[in-house]
Amino acid sequence: MIYGLCLLLFLIGFYGVVVKRNLIKIIMGLIVMEYAVHLFIVLVSYQRGGIVPILEEGQKIGEFVGLAVDPLPQVLVLTAIVINFGITALVVALAVRLYEKYGTFDVGEIRRLRG
């Protein structure tokens, strides 16, 4: 169920990228799409009633492994967020430069390349 919502968010972002004509809206679509993927990564490690994955003194190993959330996806999501932050910064910079050159954010008018 909650994975389905994640997929829905992804598709909303994808719709924004494919259908919208405005550069800023396309960028927002990209961001939504990336957030959906990040949310999915975090959900992979989610566990109802889970505890912090740090072994404390006096805790039984078996009990700890059963309860602790999976720390690996949380590490992965940090890396992915940093990478996508870089891409977002780059794409916004490109959009600003495009606005300087063409004087518009409309994709329909930014088309000197054809073929």
Partner: protein
């Protein structure tokens, strides 16, 4: 041997950062440094040919290196087999000639140190993709290479370049999101990110619907990066807009490593679909369509670089189609054509850069009669054109011949016919390039035509190196050398997941 492969990632990454820190005022340092680094890496990749042992049939290479000494499911490993060695040679050879070429070509741009830093980051990313044995690590290196290439496409910050870079970036970001999603679903199902462990999981428990979904996501993502035909829209904009050395890198190696290599690794070694008729037929159909449509679109282009870019789509179609045949000969032919295409397409893009520098235009309608003024460019471009259209003594002929033979032997004469038609059309469009650029009467401005048009020394040297390789790569199919390089690489794919798992040593 032990730690040597790590250098392929560390050297370019480290030197790239060094240029940004130190050499801002002295681009000379970064020029010579980059030439030295890539030459070293090219030599190292040639040394790797000597690694491995001979088992009577061919050379067996499989080296596994656990980074930082962590045992495998915990750590990240570097895995090197014959396919990796083949790809490393291609990547580092092309990047060496390209950087040699840019020493002269990039003189007209400012902030050249950033250019060399970025091209080295791109190289580090590609080498990382080739070496890594971990899915998430593959994603990170893929992003490193892609982000550098987005910036390099827009390096000239002219209107067209920014537009192309934006298009490229949006497509690339969608592809990356799909790839990341696929990787995470594999983790969700199998509980590991290591390719060998995930492959073992799939061997034990078989495929299920979630894994098929993950595979289709990865397939879409890598096809976008490889610009196979339903996903090709960004390539003819992005590749010609970049500076010529970057076009050569993008068309020569980036689409191969980011797209085709990753697709093959995942399809054959992780999901073990080497015998799956649906997967192979998909590759065949996509390859065949790319082959024909790419060359048809190329026929009526007048922008020289755009024409070359459409031919990249078509030639990658050849590679994918040959691999989709699923036979041993098909694999060898596909990998051989991949190598050849890297060489002659980079050569052609470097030629187009020399033409653009000399005449100031990329339109074929405005050139002509340049053979007398630019002899080296004319001769090397002739060699490149003959190679790409498959004329006998050159390398392109042998690989295309092998592809046609493989298609006939695999019982797919229709695809053999497609390959022949594609080859004829390729020849036609390169006749056009040769005639309008070099042989026809001159349509250039008198003043430009009278001036000294010969390309600078390093540009000529790097074009000559690639032209010589166009001739000598034909020797790769001599029996002794064949068993050393091509045949073991194809075997790595044919053995599928079992070979990969055994190689990593689980």
């Amino acid at each position: 041997m032990s730690n040597l492969p790590v250098l392929f990632v560390i050297l370019p990454l480290g030197f790239g950062f060094l240029y940004i820190l130190l050499a801002r005022r002295r681009p000379f340092v970064s020029e010579m440094g980059s030439v030295a680094v890539t030459l070293t890496l090219f030599m190292l990749s040639l040394i790797l040919i000597g690694a491995g042992y001979f088992d009577g049939q061919q050379v067996i290479r499989s080296f596994n290196l656990n980074m930082g000494g962590w045992a495998l499911p915990m750590g990240i490993n570097i895995y090197l087999d014959s396919l990796t060695v083949l790809m490393l040679i291609i990547v580092n050879m092309i990047s060496f000639t390209v950087i040699l070429y840019s020493v002269n070509y990039m003189k007209k741009y400012s902030s050249r140190s950033y250019f060399y830093a970025l091209i080295l980051f791109m190289l580090a990313g590609m080498n990382g993709i080739l070496l890594t044995g971990d899915l998430f690590n593959l994603y990170v290196f893929l992003e490193l290479a892609s982000v550098s290439s987005y910036i390099l496409v827009s390096f000239g910050v002219e209107a067209e370049e920014l537009e192309a870079a934006f298009k490229y970036l949006v497509m690339g970001a969608i592809a990356s999101a799909l790839i990341l999603l696929g990787v995470i679903i594999i983790y969700l199902v199998s509980g590991t990110l290591n390719i060998a462990y995930a492959a073992q999981f799939i061997q034990e428990y078989g495929m299920n619907r979630a894994l098929y979904f993950a595979f289709s996501l990865l397939l879409m993502g890598f096809s976008l990066k490889a610009a196979l035909i339903p996903f090709h829209a960004w390539l003819p904009d992005a590749h010609p807009s970049a500076p010529a050395p970057i076009s050569a890198m993008l068309s020569g190696v980036v689409i191969k490593v980011l797209g085709v290599y990753a697709l093959l690794r995942v399809g054959f070694n992780l999901f073990d679909l080497g015998n799956d008729p649906y997967f192979l037929n998909l590759l065949l159909v996509v390859g065949g369509i790319s082959l024909i449509i790419g060359v048809l679109l190329a026929l009526y282009q007048w922008d020289i670089k755009r024409l070359f870019a459409y031919h990249s789509i078509s030639q990658m179609g050849y590679v994918v189609m040959a691999i989709g045949l699923g036979t041993g000969l098909g694999m060898v032919a596909g990998l051989f054509h991949l190598f050849n295409h890297a060489v002659f397409k980079s050569l052609l893009f470097l030629n187009s850069g020399a033409l653009e520098t000399a005449t100031g235009t990329r339109s074929l309608k405005k050139m002509g009669g340049l053979a007398r003024k630019m002899p080296v460019t004319a001769v090397t471009s002739m060699i490149g054109s003959l190679s790409i259209s498959g004329i006998p003594p050159f390398n392109g002929f042998w690989s295309k011949l092998m592809i046609i033979f493989a298609a006939v032997l695999a019982g797919q004469p229709f695809y053999a016919l497609l390959a022949v038609i594609g080859s004829v059309l390729t020849l036609a469009s390169f006749m056009k390039v040769q005639r309008y650029a070099f042989w026809d009467k001159c349509r250039l401005d008198k003043k430009i035509y009278e001036s000294d048009l010969t390309a600078p020394i390093f540009m000529r040297v790097s074009m000559l190196i690639l032209a010589v390789f166009c001739i000598f790569l034909s020797f790769l199919i001599l029996p002794g050398i064949y068993r050393l390089i091509l045949s073991p690489a194809s075997l790595d794919l044919l053995q599928g997941a079992a070979g990969y798992i055994g190689g990593v040593g689980l």
